[in-house]
């Protein structure tokens, strides 16, 4: 509302030019309220004849508009209640009388057609779109019909006890939207990326509206279930050697290093890698800590004996490969819950990072050549 008032006031200011682009944005709604307001302030204007020049009007009007603009900004948004609608209707009627006064016609017999003609005369618009031109219509006709209809509908539902505020939400946990390829397969036509993005946007919008659970079937058609991760782990059964000691093997890879581990139960915590002691094979503390992590996490530090063999990569990647191998070998000694904790700790995830390819025109994968200004 205040935006329209502001823009109308600016139109008044620029009225000698008769051509502004500002009016296009506002889409003229009720002028009545605006005129009524300014009529209230400068009440002298009523008594004075309608042949006042526009310059006088503009001088008076711009002051009042500014003052009122500030006031209205402080108040909150207006709600569509009965009082509000009544007020708007009153304002319209008063505005109609003012307009009739201005045009020098009889306020009692001022029809809607007369209103339209006078508005077109007072606010000439160079715009082509009919809806963009300033208009003055009775409130009942346009403005509040939709909102009132919605409220009537909701009242009817409340009467029938169908209006429940706590709408059921569609559970989206454990499922994902269809991928672009899957959607293409479903619709048997190619889709561009923009279209796919728009589709996802619209589906999300649908989910954000209330009562979306009514269309649950429709939405679920475009979602796929995610698989539970922990059930993917293949836990091999324990093997027993000739002395009855349980043992298991595991292998792991990290960044071109591969390692295999033979875990033996009821040992003393001795580890041999490629035949040598692990203190000599991994002089760096960090690598030994990597080996220690799975055992320490499950609290079985001194229980197992390990025979490892590793090849490829550098010392860090060999340590990482052995760590993964140890975790995998330990799975057969542990219970389900412990397997899940290990998975969540990230011990069972193979590290996918590898060396990035060097690109032509650059010195390395990311490093560019030295930039010379000339």
């Amino acid at each position: 509302m205040q935006m329209q008032r502001l823009l109308l006031s600016t139109y008044f200011l620029f009225s000698p030019e008769r051509r502004t682009a500002n009016m296009a944005a506002s889409g003229g709604r009720t002028v009545g309220s605006f005129l009524w307001k300014c009529g209230n302030c400068c009440f002298n204007f009523n008594t004075v004849s309608s042949n006042l020049t526009r310059q006088v009007l503009s001088r008076q009007l711009c002051v009042s508009a500014v003052l009122h603009r500030k006031n209205l900004a402080a108040a909150g948004p207006e709600k569509f209640s009965e009082e509000f609608i009544k007020k708007q209707v009153e304002e319209f009627n008063i505005g109609k009388r003012h307009l009739a006064n201005m045009m020098g016609e009889d306020p009692e017999t001022f029809t809607q057609g007369d209103i339209n003609r006078s508005i077109a005369y007072l606010f000439p618009s160079g715009l082509f779109d009919k809806k963009a031109k300033p208009l003055m219509k009775h409130p009942d006709e346009d403005t509040f019909t939709k909102a009132l209809a919605v409220e009537k509908h909701q009242d009817r539902l409340r009467g029938k006890d169908l209006f429940t505020q706590d709408a059921k939400q569609i559970s989206l946990v454990g499922s994902r939207w269809l991928l672009k390829e899957e959607l293409e397969e479903l619709l048997v036509e190619t889709i561009s990326e923009h279209d796919y993005a728009r589709f996802i946007q619209l589906m999300e919008r649908l989910l954000s509206l209330p009562y979306c659970s009514v269309e649950e079937d429709f939405v679920q058609r475009y979602r796929r279930q995610l698989e539970i991760q922990s059930s993917k782990q293949q836990v091999q059964p324990l093997q027993y050697d000739q002395h009855g000691v349980a043992y298991s093997t595991g292998d792991g890879r990290r960044k071109t290093a591969t390692g295999t581990v033979l875990l033996r139960d009821s040992g003393s915590g001795s580890i041999s890698i490629n035949g040598t002691n692990y203190v000599h094979y991994f002089p760096v503390l960090q690598d030994r800590e990597q080996l220690m992590f799975p055992l320490h996490f499950m609290g079985v530090l001194g229980r197992f004996d390990m025979q490892c063999s590793v090849s490829g990569g550098g010392h860090s990647s060999q340590a990482g490969a052995l760590r993964l191998a140890i975790s995998r070998a330990m799975l057969s000694f542990l219970s389900e819950g412990q397997v899940e904790t290990m998975r969540q700790a990230g011990l069972l995830t193979p590290d996918p990072r590898i060396k990035e390819r060097k690109k032509p025109g650059q010195e390395g994968a990311r490093r560019k050549f030295t930039w010379k200004k000339r």
Binding site: G269, S270, I271, T276, N277, Y278, V279, H280, L285, R288, E289, M292, L295, H296, G299, L301, G302
Partner: protein, 356 residues
Amino acid sequence: MLLLAGPCFIFVAKPTEQHLGQYYTVPPSHFHTVFPHGLPPRYQQQVKTFNEGCVMVRQPALELISHLKRADYSKPTLRYLLYGVKGSGKTMSLCHTVHYCSTQGWLVLHIPDAHLWVKNCKELLPSSYHASRFDQPIQASNWLRNFRTTNEHFLSKIKLRQRYVWTKRESTEEGRPLGELVDMGVSRVKSSSDVVGAVLKELRLQAGGTEGGFRLAVAVDGVNGLWGRTTLKKEDKSPVAPEELTLVHNLRKMINNDWCGGAVIATLSQTGSLYAPSSAYLPQELLGEEGFDSMDPFVPVPVSLYSEKEFESCYLYYLDRHWLQHPHSQTEEGKKELIFLSNRNPSVLERLCAFL
């Protein structure tokens, strides 16, 4: 002598087998005299930090000491060789034995690291005594100075049996005390290597003698450096063989068992050795053929990593000295982690605890 059960530390002058795994303190006065140059650098730092020197009594040192007690000193010298993986405590055992010998009143000839003589030498002079050999003045004078600090009381007692001529004008007469020779070597740096040779020869001749009657202990650390290759080069860029160095030559003569009245205690060391793979620790690998033949026959003394009891004792010592500050290291779990990460290797454990 106190006898306390369990791994705790006591201050004993003469540790015996009952004190295996326990610590004994070296009195501070001994430190400067007995060990001016012998201790491992990290241990020296630890001594400075803790304001005391505590040595753990371990099996290899006790074995050596028992051998020394029972040996017959009229027969040619026995040679003992300490060997083990890197960081298992060979040098510390050697120092323990050296301390024992000095408390018993022996004359100790302690060469801290034979590798220092075969590498990183800035000055290499051609020897005046022998044309094809090379002198190392700096190393020789350093060693003589330390030798003087260690064996002050012997220097005046031992008399020279031969006349030594250094230059046209200088010579040392027969019957002069050894101290004078040593002083001359320290002051005249140019001829210090020859002085070293002379000192060694004198000691060798006089060690088993009935008059005077002192026992000589030759303690060499890193003995495998004497028979390998050197990194030193002559002026025409050809490599120098160890035999061409005066110091090495004389030391080799010392290690030969053609004299009596003492013992030779040696350790192998891979840490400072040249051209040896890091996984080598056995005598054959580190000494090489030539070295093994000249050392043969010897008494091998293996030095192993900490046993459970010894580890326990070391851990409690660090706890008592408040060296392990981290609260987690004082729990059982922390101890298990320490065992795992160090695999009970003494030097690795020490480095690990240094930042805890």
